[in-house]
């Protein structure tokens, strides 16, 4: 990964020609561009090099595999998976429903599906290093969702002792999974998903059920 070579924050001035930041960025850009039109499997290091106007050696000097390049693209947000904003009106159930309706439209766009697949395949290449990165992938954090849940927790709306991360996964992971298989769920399925989890989270009596 690139970071390894840059970790010399204020260290010795590194003799020799310094790393070309232009080349570095060109590789990431080229990869992003290519992933928009091809799957991880179809993507080749040679194509990245050619598209970036960079030599293969330069890629291998800074990344140890194609998976590493793809993961850096993903994890540094170069591919910018546009997230739907999470509203905060005070009504947790309503906010989550608004959010998931937006996700159904946004997350199942072809480009995003392809990106998510690339990320997963790259992460599953069997290399322990990339695997670790996959686990950290911010994409799986369901960050905005978890944040909104924590807000509700602070407002005392939730039952005590529930695991916020687990609850966020209960809503977010099924969404991601259907994204990977390319089959967008129906609106009612999604709403029911949110309803069940939110109901299970909230203090009895607080808020209102969907039905």
């Amino acid at each position: 990964m690139a970071s390894e070579a840059q970790r010399s924050d204020t260290a010795e001035p590194r003799r020799g020609r310094p790393r070309s930041e232009a080349s570095h960025q060109a590789v990431l850009d080229a990869t992003t561009r290519l992933l928009r039109v091809s799957s991880y499997e179809e993507l080749t290091v040679e194509a990245i090099a050619s598209e970036a106007g960079v030599s293969k050696q330069t890629i291998y000097r800074w990344w140890k595999s194609k998976a590493a390049v793809v993961l850096e693209v993903m994890l540094t947000g170069d591919a910018e998976i546009e997230l739907v904003p999470m509203p905060s009106t005070g009504d947790l159930r309503a906010d989550c429903l608004t959010w998931i309706r937006g996700m159904l439209v946004e997350a199942f766009r072809e480009t995003h599906v392809g990106m998510a697949r690339s990320l997963v395949v790259a992460g599953l290449q069997g290399d322990p290093g990339t695997e670790r990165l996959l686990q950290q992938a911010s994409m799986w954090d369901h960050g905005l969702l978890a944040e909104r849940l924590r807000e509700a927790e602070r407002a005392g709306e939730l039952r005590e002792g529930v695991d916020i991360a687990a609850a966020a996964s209960a809503i977010g992971d099924p969404l991601i999974f259907r994204m990977l298989t390319g089959s967008a769920p129906s609106l009612s399925w999604s709403e029911s998903l949110v309803d069940v989890v939110v109901t299970g989270l909230m203090r009895p009596g607080a808020g209102t059920s969907l039905n």
Copy 2:
């Protein structure tokens, strides 16, 4: 997929030498065997052919790619992903907790993780045909879980109008997802996941909360 060529149920007598069922099965067996010790990436068609004592041509005659072979292995249950049995004691919450504790032990064995990864990678190869198969994969059905939920529904324990499939996904998909990334969740995380969803499913007052 193999089934294409056999669809002539009662049709014309099929001239020429018939397909060798022995070879067909040998390929599936060999693939299963190899997948136990290597990842999808490491698996090669040549190795399958050699292990099965079959010529490469025979593989390509009946399957159009390595992904197709792997998917057939998975989807026909040749790889037999052993599921943890789902108890049915009458207490839905307790049954689900028992089940998920078993899954934490069983599903995160190295072999199962490898199989699940192979299935996903094979399904994400960008081919529309294999993609369709991935969506149908029985593995994602969370079959036993959904069945138990339906049983509770028939017993009138659940709130009305909830989508059983969505609820099963809320518990099952996070589990599969962590299986893919190779990071087994903690027991408390898993229990909280079950608790939230089951609570959200059940009629208020029915059953008891974990806390």
Copy 3:
């Protein structure tokens, strides 16, 4: 070769379905037809079978290899390499010159060149059986040429003790060789070839030199 299986002239009635002479001939015809438009290398047994409306097994039942089929086509004259007639006016030198001028036109047609090449390549496949056939190939006999020389010998025009076959080869082989390499010799080269050999053959004083 086909002859092996036919030797039962008036023998036992041969049980079972009799050999299809039609298939036999169809194979030879198809081969001839295909060789007119493709080289020996490009010719495939499957193409012969398909063109002849015959199964591959039928071919292998009667011939032991592709080379054997091609050689039978050649050697039984099915491919009928049209020979230029050899005149016999009494003037050996003039007759030979007339003949070679005709050969320059006739033998270097694309079809004949292709056939000769196929014959040679088939014969050189390293199989002793086909090799023997190549040696016997009537094509190399320079039959008409040798016959005319013998006529001159009987007429007492030739020096004594010369080997007619060797002399025929001295004229014929260079012609065949240039046929194989696809480079037709010039008229003057050919005439000089004939002139030198005929001069060397004839009794001093008999006939007249070209120059």
Copy 4:
């Protein structure tokens, strides 16, 4: 052919890693070695690569087919077809007879026969490029023979206007042809061949006939 890529005598400095001359030579050597024990048909590109310690791609990078490799081996004399020396005692007839007696022994050795066959088969693969090379093959020049004939011509021993190349072919081509078919001619046949042609070449009265 390899020469194509090297033609930049004094041209641009050739960027990138230069061609490995070691690999080039290793391929030619390996091919020569393999051809000594196997026919052209039996020779495979994979075997050449393996024997040369070179990758298949390197072979295909510089030669477009197996035929091209074999032809380069032949035409650059790497296979060194040992020629029998041509004496020059002043007596043309005697010299040619000495030469052909040597050829009968030397040229029909198994190795030479195999090489000649490989050269011919390689040249007859139907590719215009290799065909052209076949025509130029120095082997067919009958170089030493033609040279000796020209010496006699300069000495004024020959009739005027005869084509030396044609005469050399009249002796050399029949020899090559029998080499290809693997049937060594008899001594008397060979001597008669030489006698007829030399007699036809020489000025009447010069030299003496065999009989």
